[in-house]
């Protein structure tokens, strides 16, 4: 926890180093000495006077799996956009660890710093094979020259195989990603995030459009990842949220700020939450 990654600074370690083996618990490069990996402080985002986020405060602890729920238009996706650099907040701050100011960084610098994002609609490279998708996402120096001269080492190949098993796509690695089922694409996208070895995973509706069996499998996958990464899940599917939240904290967003926070049971019995969301 001593080394601090400044914006724009590159990885101290290269892929294949023992320290970057998949599944480490302690994030490196991010100063998490106060126990939190992400702080959102008083974030407001206005679009032409409409406040998509309104003084939002949120913090995520290291290793936590946090579920965020809320009705449509509550600002969930805008919050993800702010964290990943797609949208700049009108006011307020977004901090990765104690020191990394996300509001000043580009999308790709944020990805390098250790935040991976899955979109609401599965976005994979459809013309590339499953294997190539994972290879592209793999944590490494992603500048032009090293990319041009890149050769896959057996260690890196082993890592891709490991992720393929985890997302249950082994045996399909040479299929074009465009031919996968909807659920498989969602898993591939999660696999791509894992290849980046992120400290923080942001999953925007990971089970949207999935069959029950696929949803159950996704819950299983997230339970396997619990504790290995800090994870933020935005989801509508209440059964799924109950399944993965367990005794962890669930945050309810409403009109751009936090309405309630607590375990699933506490949140479900909160009158205001019932009024705006669950009671409908």
């Amino acid at each position: 926890m001593s080394e601090v990654l400044k914006p724009g600074q590159r990885y101290a370690s290269e892929p294949g180093d023992a320290a970057t083996a998949y599944g480490r618990h302690k994030p490196e490069g991010v100063d998490t000495s106060h126990g939190a990996i992400l702080y959102l402080e008083d974030i407001t985002v206005s679009f032409d006077g409409f406040r998509a986020l309104n003084k939002l405060n949120l913090d995520i602890s290291v290793g936590e799996l946090r579920c965020i729920i809320g009705p449509n238009g509550a600002g969930k996706t805008t919050m993800m956009d702010v964290i990943t650099g797609k949208t700049r907040p009108t006011t307020g701050g977004a901090w990765f660890g104690q020191t990394i100011d996300l509001t000043r960084m580009t999308e790709y610098d944020i990805a390098h710093a250790g935040i991976g994002r899955k979109f609401q609609r599965p976005t994979v490279f459809e013309q590339h094979t499953v294997f190539e998708n994972l290879e592209l996402a793999m944590k490494m120096n992603k500048r032009v020259k090293p990319t041009l001269f890149f050769r896959l080492s057996s260690e890196q190949k082993g890592k891709i195989d490991e992720i393929l098993k985890l997302i249950r796509l082994n045996g399909q690695e040479h299929r074009p990603a465009g031919l996968l089922s909807h659920g498989q694409k969602q898993w591939l996208e999660i696999g791509m995030l894992l290849m980046q070895e992120p400290q923080l995973l942001l999953l925007d509706e990971p089970v949207a459009g999935m069959s029950d069996a696929e949803t159950a499998r996704t819950a299983e996958l997230l339970n396997e990842l619990r504790g290995l990464h800090s994870i933020v899940v935005v989801e509508h599917d209440m059964a799924f949220v109950e399944e993965i939240a367990q005794q962890g904290v669930v945050t309810v967003l409403h009109e751009g700020s936090v309405l309630a926070q607590g375990t699933m049971q506490q949140v479900q019995s909160d009158d205001r939450v019932i009024e705006v969301y669950l009671g409908r």
Binding site: Y108, T123, F125, K142, V144, F149, M192
Partner: protein
């Protein structure tokens, strides 16, 4: 893991075609005109020109077919490469021009007494070769940097490339720009000491062009099969996903865009001594659009396709403009529409489809 780009038959085809192309100037030189194996000088010059076009189409495929950046202004890079080499060829004329001056005829005509600064050192062949690479390269880099940094994409980017080549054409049409106005450069006498009209010089230029085309093909193949090639295709298919996994698309686009412009400039430089003229009409928007048609007809995103397209469209053009001179532009337009509607993957895509159907049957 490597994906195959050229199948075994494709490699065989490349080797056979390259050997046949290399044979043409040999047949031209070693048999008298009456012999049945003789290939006319006209034919050699024509194929030499097609190879330059093929190289430009190949360069375009790198940005359009692989990276999804449609350029409607690649003619400007082709022409600038040609002009850069043309400056040397003009100075190599020496005092043999109409006015027997040290300056090219058009400068005498303008009553200029000395060369303008940007003509300095162009009497050196290797310096002009440097310009062939540097001028299109620097223009593409600067233009690309600002366009890509502002995240200009799709049709907007295509339109500004079109505007760029048009602006350059107008600039080069001016006599005072110092590049011979609408006449451009012509009446070249020699190149590195050899008479430019000599059959052996022509054959040498032809063979150099063939070698450069093959070299460019192998270079492009290496690039598109590297991981960088897969990043370029990812830019084409989902640029935002690429940013969120940590790539900055700006530098990848700029790399391939600049490289493509340089290849196009080299093609232009090979074209000028073989055709014997370069003028601003090479920068006309229609020329750049024709390049796009070559790539589309052959099959973009395949490297070989645009080369096949450049040969077949220009072969057709040579025949058509002889048989029905007024109808060529209509035929070209019709061809583009038909290809877009019925063979979006071009000739190579059609061939692959027929092969699959045969296998399935």
């Amino acid at each position: 893991m490597k994906t195959t780009l050229f199948t075994r038959p494709a490699w065989a085809g490349i080797i056979v075609c390259a050997a046949l192309l290399a044979l043409l100037p040999v047949l031209n030189l070693s048999f008298p005109a009456s012999h049945p194996l003789h290939v006319s000088s006209y034919m050699v010059a024509l194929v030499g020109k097609f190879m330059c076009y093929a190289m430009a189409a190949l360069a375009l495929d790198l940005v359009w077919g692989y990276t999804g950046i449609l350029s409607l202004g690649h003619g400007v890079f082709f022409a600038l490469g040609g002009y850069a080499h043309g400056m040397y060829l003009m100075r190599a004329i020496g005092r043999e021009g109409v006015y027997q001056s040290d300056l090219p005829d058009f400068m005498v005509f303008l009553d200029w007494k000395t060369y303008p600064w940007f003509w300095s050192m162009t009497d050196n062949f290797w310096y002009s070769m440097l310009l062939v690479v540097a001028v299109p390269g620097v223009l593409a880099f600067v233009f690309g940097y600002f366009a890509f940094r502002s995240r200009i994409k799709g049709v907007y980017f295509s339109i500004i490339t079109q505007a760029m080549t048009f602006a350059f054409m107008l600039l080069f049409f001016r006599n005072n720009t110092g590049f011979g106005g609408n006449n451009g450069f012509t009446d070249f006498k020699r190149i590195v000491g050899h008479t430019i009209t000599a059959p052996s010089t022509k054959a040498a230029l032809y063979l150099i062009t063939l070698a450069m085309l093959l070299g460019a093909l192998l270079l492009c193949r290496w690039i598109v099969r590297s991981k960088l090639g897969r990043v370029l295709q990812a830019v084409r298919d989902s640029e935002s996903r690429l940013m969120f996994i940590g790539y900055n698309p700006l530098w990848f686009k700029l790399f391939v865009w600049t490289l493509s412009a340089v290849l196009c400039g080299i093609a232009g430089a090979l074209y000028v001594p073989q055709v014997g003229i370069i003028n601003p009409s090479e920068m006309s928007p229609a020329n750049s659009i024709e390049m796009v048609i070559w790539a589309a007809v052959g099959g973009r995103g395949t490297l070989l396709g645009p080369i096949i397209g450049a040969f077949s469209v220009n072969g057709l053009k040579s025949w058509f403009t002889g048989a029905f001179p007024d109808l060529w532009l209509y035929a070209l337009g019709l061809m583009f529409i038909l290809v877009t509607l019925f063979m979006p993957q071009g000739i190579l895509g059609l061939a692959a489809k027929l092969r699959r159907q045969k296998e399935a049957a």
